[in-house]
């Protein structure tokens, strides 16, 4: 067992636990976007930063990837943490204003406006879908490409992946979401939405062996537009 001080509270948790898990266990909420139980920690969204250490040595680390250390002092909601978190939320809102998940986090943190130039992107590159696909669905159909501002998500060369089973797992976990339904074009990269059990709107023969749990059927919604 490792002993540490979490928000002034002396606690002990098992070795190898991350700060995020420890905080969750003791009831301190930490917002996250790229973390999901059952998937490996990734540390991309930086929302879960907490402050560790003291004085000039204090620093912010992502709690989802940081394992607890003996005697460490953790503050999950210090002023520095909250200030940083608010800017991150502003950045998220500036990129993906339509995401319900992000809106909820923003409202919990009392962020009511963002000051950057408004964009409308579909993806925050949190990597949940990539890990879902690889670690839970054992497919590895999608991944990241490019770096910096050119980094994007998809299959190699944007062609339908041979290993994709159109399970829709990527869309299920997406907080943003880029893994959009591609309507009834199964040759496109990622799909799954229209493969409802009984989609009345599409020709059945292409989709007969698929399953989908999206409700309402995204295909119909797109068609309505």
């Amino acid at each position: 067992m490792v002993n540490l001080i979490l928000n002034g509270l002396s606690i002990s948790v098992e070795k190898g636990t991350t700060i995020l898990e420890a905080a969750k266990f003791y009831g301190f909420p930490i917002p996250t976007l790229c973390h999901k139980e059952g998937l490996s920690p990734y540390g991309a969204c930086r929302l879960c930063v907490v402050e560790i250490g003291e004085g000039p040595g204090a620093k912010l680390v992502s709690s989802c990837t940081y394992p607890v250390e003996e005697g460490m002092k953790v503050r999950t909601a210090s002023e520095r943490v909250l200030k940083a978190r608010r800017i991150i939320i502003e950045l998220l809102l500036a990129s993906c204003p339509q995401s319900k998940v992000i809106q909820d986090i923003a409202s919990r943190h009392n962020v009511r406006q963002q000051r950057f130039r408004q964009e409308h992107e579909d993806c925050i590159l949190c990597g949940l879908c990539v890990r879902m696909c690889k670690e839970q669905m054992m497919a590895g159909a999608i991944g990241f490409r490019g770096r910096g501002k050119n980094r994007s998500l998809g299959t190699p060369f944007d062609m339908k992946s041979d290993v994709c089973r159109l399970c829709g797992g990527c869309m299920e976990v997406c907080p943003a979401c880029q893994a959009r339904c591609t309507f009834n074009q199964p040759e496109k990269a990622i799909c799954g939405g229209c493969a409802n059990l009984v989609p009345p709107c599409i020709e059945k023969d292409q989709f007969h062996d698929m399953m989908c749990y999206m409700s309402p059927c995204v295909a119909c919604e797109i068609k309505k537009d």
């Binding site: 540390g43 680390v61 940081y66 500036a94 990129s95 950057f116 990597g127 770096r147 050119n150």
Partner: protein
């Protein structure tokens, strides 16, 4: 080569080389590094080889092709041993002479190195300041070895450290030695290398242990790691093998980017040689140790220099960092313990093992032992690699080793540590360069890039550049780094393109802090440094971009528009009248000039030409357009009646203007056009202020001034002469009578004093009194040998006027610094010297704005110049000056103004005999009486005003011209008069005084001239003819002539027309666009 099985065998082999080197045989050393090759050293090498073959010099001359020697500015250069004669920037034709001389043991005098602008020859490399200031314990070896020959490395004692390391069985002492030497990682973060090795040594593992040499050098402008691997790969390998022995590593990897082909080649060859000798591979020298090194080519991602990303890259995955812990030491490459060291760190290891930690600690300062190589680039004379002990002040590196700024502009800041580093302003150049001081100043050591920036560099633009680099090079994994750098870049783009708002600065700061705080790896954590450090030290530049929409460095294109227009204090559009003159439309050109500037003819003679100094053609290496000469051509040709502004309806208010100088008359004229009745009060009996009483007639003929002033007057303006503020009236009188507002522009008419004994005796005149006496009353005060103290324009004017007075025999100018530092116009100085003035350089307690060209003119007229002297005593006989005593100065360190301080040399006093002494060390406004009237006045006697509105501390009273700025140019005075008229108009109409700034961009399209290639390349700047000195003596004829029509027009054809980028209309672009579209469809 044979493979050795024991340390003793290798020792004998190694030592056999030490004796072989023949110190006396001449050897030609030439840099074959990437920098050298790019500068043409390959051609020189070919010629040297051919010469050696043809002349059969094998026994008499050796050739050594080395890696980078560091003095890249002088490439391609040759050093001839044993004399170490350095011949810089060679042409192919020079080579045979050098070879002949080298064989005979002679020196080719005319090709030897001299400092730029100096005539002193440096016979040996060791005498050159660039090398003198350095301590080259690592880089210095490059000169003595050919990187592809291991024998050369053995000759200079190479692999002795490895041999030493192998001799003892227990190798923990290696770690202790490095720990004791306090060697810190040269990659940037400065972690103690010994500590890292200790951790790595203590990691118990059953699998392999790795040592990685990080040669992924990605900082723009940094190339010291490349030069090490290229120039001395064996030192890196030796350090790496020692590191492997120390930590028990089994595998070594050199991670080098593919963009470094020469480094890869040299390292590969070195590896082959070392393996053959048995120093690498299985059972090293029979010691039972297996260790081998392979080279891994990185694909050039900047982020792969970060250790966790580097590991991922070697593993074949996407090069993106992961969160530490676990550290690579615990869990690195393929999950095994991995120790990663920088190239330079490893290069230091052999030195420490050879000489011992105690010796190493003597270099550098506490906690920062040893040396660091910097690549010194940017606006600096000596670009190159510089190795200095840690703790060396920045000033020494920049000015002593680097040689100071490469151009005329002063150095503003240095940027250290590459894109993730920060900028350090020139005011902090006493800062020692070490890990801790740099971090404290908001920068980082980084891998050692040092970019020097001068006043032509915009700090906002610099921050934008680095953000643009980082937004592309961030791996993109963590959100704050990816989006943060993008958003910072976006905000900086907004600011540099004129869309900045005050809120942007706060947002930028908050965002930068967050990026620094919350990102995962070193790249992101330091990515905000360029923004944070420039915000900290250059906040005023950001504010100027945002509130004034101006970029003072003329780097941000959207804020600069056409540089000539932006540079002009009165907003003239030089590009426009230049284009009109080219078309032959002189009247329209005159209207363009006159609409912005009420004194076109005066300006065309005495303007200091800010437009020309910013001309795109001039700053990009060509000759600036002669804008002032073109203006002179137009104003000489076109009658002022071509432009008649129509006064607005009378607004029923009256304004008083005090002083009829350029500022006052401009304000009066513009206010009269706006519909106000203006009364101008002038203390003298003539209008014009400095134009009439100070500027000599040979520069500005009196009839031109009078004619120009007459055109400005109209029914709304009344001038009252001989009326002095403070004597004949007070401000309160004026404001309580009929005037609703007052504009003060009484100039700066009081000379600073030397504060020496006897200063008030006969024969000594303050320059302004001397000039006034002559220009207004025709009194000739100077006689015999005239001495003038000062280096500014009024000193040079006084010198040239004195020279023209009838009883004067000779004129000497005394200045405390050297000719280069003289603030007068260069051409005027030259002219004065030409006319017979002698210049001695001495004292000037206040700064006066003036230019080198004026100095030149004075010198040409025969003024004698005595530089580096300061007067200390004045001799008098019977109440009249007979001479003075001066002390000689030498130039000391660079002071805050960027000029070297004069330091008196004790015992160097000398006496000068004089009949007249004119003190021209600067002027200040006579403003004591103004402060008595309730105005705020500063120490220099200048009135304090709101710089945006020109309001003084008294309501309704505005001030401008020299009264506010101290002695300044005519054009700045006109500009302040113009601005005052605008602000007073708003004040009188009860409007807000300031209006939001808009960038000055060209807005009027003029068809460009068609110029063929030949003409564009062959045309040169047209200089107006000047009177020969013989014809100028003892008269006041105008010295500079007007350009003839054909020359003026062809000069205009040289203009690059920077305005077109902004004015070319959509319509003009349409045909071209259509053609492209049509082609596609067809």
């Amino acid at each position: 080569m044979k493979t050795f099985q024991s340390v003793a065998q290798f020792k004998t082999y190694r030592e056999s080389f030490l004796a072989t080197s023949d110190q006396n045989k001449p050897c030609i050393v030439i840099c074959g590094g990437t920098g050298g090759q790019a500068s043409g050293s390959n051609d020189l090498i070919r010629i040297i080889k051919r010469q050696i073959l043809e002349k059969d010099l094998h026994d008499k001359l050796a050739l050594r092709i080395t890696g980078c020697l560091g003095f890249c500015e002088m490439d391609p250069f040759i050093i001839v041993e044993p004399g170490y004669n350095l011949y810089p920037k060679l042409q192919m034709v020079d080579v045979p002479r050098i070879i002949d001389a080298a064989v005979k043991g002679e020196v080719v005098e005319d090709l030897l190195y001299r400092e730029p602008g100096s005539t002193v020859k440096r016979y040996s490399e060791k005498e050159i300041p660039f090398f003198q200031g350095q301590t080259r314990i690592v880089l210095g070896q490059n000169q003595h070895l050919d990187p592809i020959r291991i024998s050369d490395y053995l000759k200079i004692g190479g692999y002795a450290a490895l041999e030493k390391a192998l001799q003892k069985k227990d190798r923990a002492w290696l770690v202790d030695e490095i720990l004791a030497a306090k060697l810190r990682g040269r990659g940037g973060a400065g972690f103690l290398t010994g500590k890292k090795w200790e951790l790595a040594r203590n990691m118990k593992t059953r699998g392999p242990k790795y040592i990685i040499c990080n040669a992924d050098e990605g900082d723009p402008g940094a190339y010291m790691d490349r030069s090490m691997l290229e120039g001395n790969p064996h030192a890196v390998l030796e350090g790496m093998i020692i590191a492997a022995l120390a930590i028990g590593a089994t595998n070594g990897i050199i991670y080098v980017r593919t963009e470094y082909p020469l480094a890869i080649k040299h390292a590969t060859l070195a590896l082959r040689d070392v393996r053959q000798l048995g120093l690498l591979g299985k059972n090293i020298l029979g010691q039972g140790i297996d260790f081998d090194i392979e080279i891994f080519h990185g694909a050039g991602a900047f982020v792969c220099g970060e250790e966790t990303a580097l590991i991922k890259s070697i593993e074949g995955k996407m090069g993106e960092p992961r969160q530490r812990p676990p550290f690579p030491i615990q869990k690195g490459l393929f999950g095994h313990p991995t120790c990663i060291n920088n190239v330079e760190t490893l290069s230091n290891v052999p030195y420490i093992i050879n000489h011992g930690a105690a010796e190493y600690l003597k270099i550098g300062v506490e906690n920062n032992a040893g040396t660091k190589i910097f690549s010194l680039v940017g606006k600096i004379k000596n670009t190159g690699l510089v190795e200095v002990p840690l703790g060396t002040p920045i000033r020494k590196v920049v000015y002593d080793i680097g040689g100071g700024p490469s151009g005329e502009a002063k150095i503003k800041a240095i940027q250290t540590g590459g894109p993730s580093g920060g900028c350090i302003p020139a005011s902090m150049f006493d800062l020692p360069i070490d890990y801790d001081s740099l971090a404290k100043a908001g920068s980082i050591m980084g891998s050692g890039g040092m970019i020097v920036m001068d006043h032509n560099t915009c700090m906002v633009d610099v921050a934008k550049y680095f953000m643009s680099f980082l937004k592309d090079e961030s791996c993109g994994k963590c959100f704050t780094c990816r989006k943060g750098t993008q958003r910072m870049h976006e905000i900086l783009e907004d600011i540099t393109e004129g869309r900045g708002t005050p809120g942007h600065l706060k947002l930028l700061f908050e965002l930068a802090q967050t990026v620094k705080d919350t990102t995962m790896c070193g790249l992101g954590q330091t990515a905000a440094n360029p923004v944070l450090s420039t915000l900290k030290y250059f906040r005023d530049e950001y504010e100027r971009h945002i509130t004034d929409k101006r970029c003072d460095a003329f780097a941000c294109k959207e804020l600069t528009g056409a540089p000539c227009q932006s540079a002009c204090p009165v907003d003239t559009e030089p590009w426009r009248y230049v284009a009109l003159v080219e078309k032959g439309d002189y009247e329209e050109a005159y209207r363009v000039i006159r609409s912005a500037n009420p004194f076109p003819a005066v300006s065309s003679r005495v303007c200091d030409r800010k437009c020309e100094s910013r001309c795109s053609l001039g700053v990009s290496g060509g000759e600036a357009i002669g804008i002032r000469a073109i203006k002179r051509f137009v104003t000489d040709r076109v009658d002022p009646s071509a432009y008649r502004p129509k006064p607005a309806k009378n607004k029923g208010k009256e304004v008083a203007v005090i002083g009829a100088g350029p500022a006052g008359l401009t304000a009066a004229h513009n206010l009269s056009i706006l519909g106000y009745k203006v009364t101008v009060f002038e203390a003298e009996q003539v209008p014009g202020g400095m134009l009439s009483c100070s500027l000599p007639a040979y520069r500005l003929p009196r009839d031109i001034v009078e004619k120009e002033i007459q055109t400005l007057l109209n029914g709304n303006i009344k001038i009252e002469y001989g009326r002095t503020l403070g004597k004949d009236m007070t401000l309160q009188d004026l404001l309580s009578k009929k005037f609703s507002a007052v504009f003060l522009s009484i100039g700066a008419h009081e000379s600073w004093r030397l504060d020496l004994e006897n200063e008030d005796i006969e024969g000594i005149h303050p320059s302004i009194q001397f000039l006034k006496a002559f220009n207004i009353r025709g009194e000739q005060l100077a006689k015999g040998h005239v001495g003038i103290i000062g280096g500014g324009n009024s000193a040079v004017d006084a010198a040239r006027v004195a020279l023209r007075q009838k009883d004067v025999t000779s004129v000497s100018l005394f200045y405390r610094r050297t000719r280069e530092e003289m603030p007068a116009y260069e051409e005027e100085i030259d002219a004065a010297l030409e006319e017979g003035v002698r210049i001695e350089t001495l004292i000037s307690p206040v700064k006066i704005h003036a230019r080198q060209e004026e100095i030149d003119a004075a010198l040409r007229e025969g003024v004698e110049l005595e530089t580096l002297v300061t007067p200390v005593k004045i001799y008098s006989r019977e109440g009249r000056v007979v001479g003075m005593e001066c002390i000689k100065n030498r130039l000391g360190d660079v002071d805050a103004t960027g000029r070297r301080k004069p330091v008196p040399i004790a015992g160097s006093e000398f006496k000068v005999e004089l009949d007249t002494l004119i003190v021209a060390i600067g002027e200040k406004p006579q403003s004591e009486f103004l402060s008595a009237m309730g105005l705020d006045v500063d120490q220099g006697g200048r009135i304090k005003v709101n710089s945006k509105t020109l309001e003084t501390s008294l309501k309704g009273v505005f001030a401008g011209g020299d009264l506010v700025t101290g002695p300044n140019t005519v054009i700045d005075a006109i500009a302040s008069g113009k601005k005052a008229a605008q602000c007073m108009d708003r004040y009188l109409q009860n409007q807000t005084l300031t209006v939001p700034a808009v960038p000055k961009r060209p807005s009027f399209f003029i068809e460009p001239a068609v110029i063929d290639e030949v003409e564009a390349q062959t045309s040169t700047r047209a200089e107006p003819t000047v009177l020969p000195p013989a014809q100028r003596l003892k008269n006041f004829r105008e010295v500079t002539m007007v350009l003839p029509e054909d020359q003026a027009r062809s000069e205009c054809r040289r203009c690059l027309r920077c305005d077109l980028e902004f004015t070319r209309t959509k319509a003009a672009e349409q045909p071209a666009a259509a053609a492209i579209g049509g082609g596609k469809n067809g």
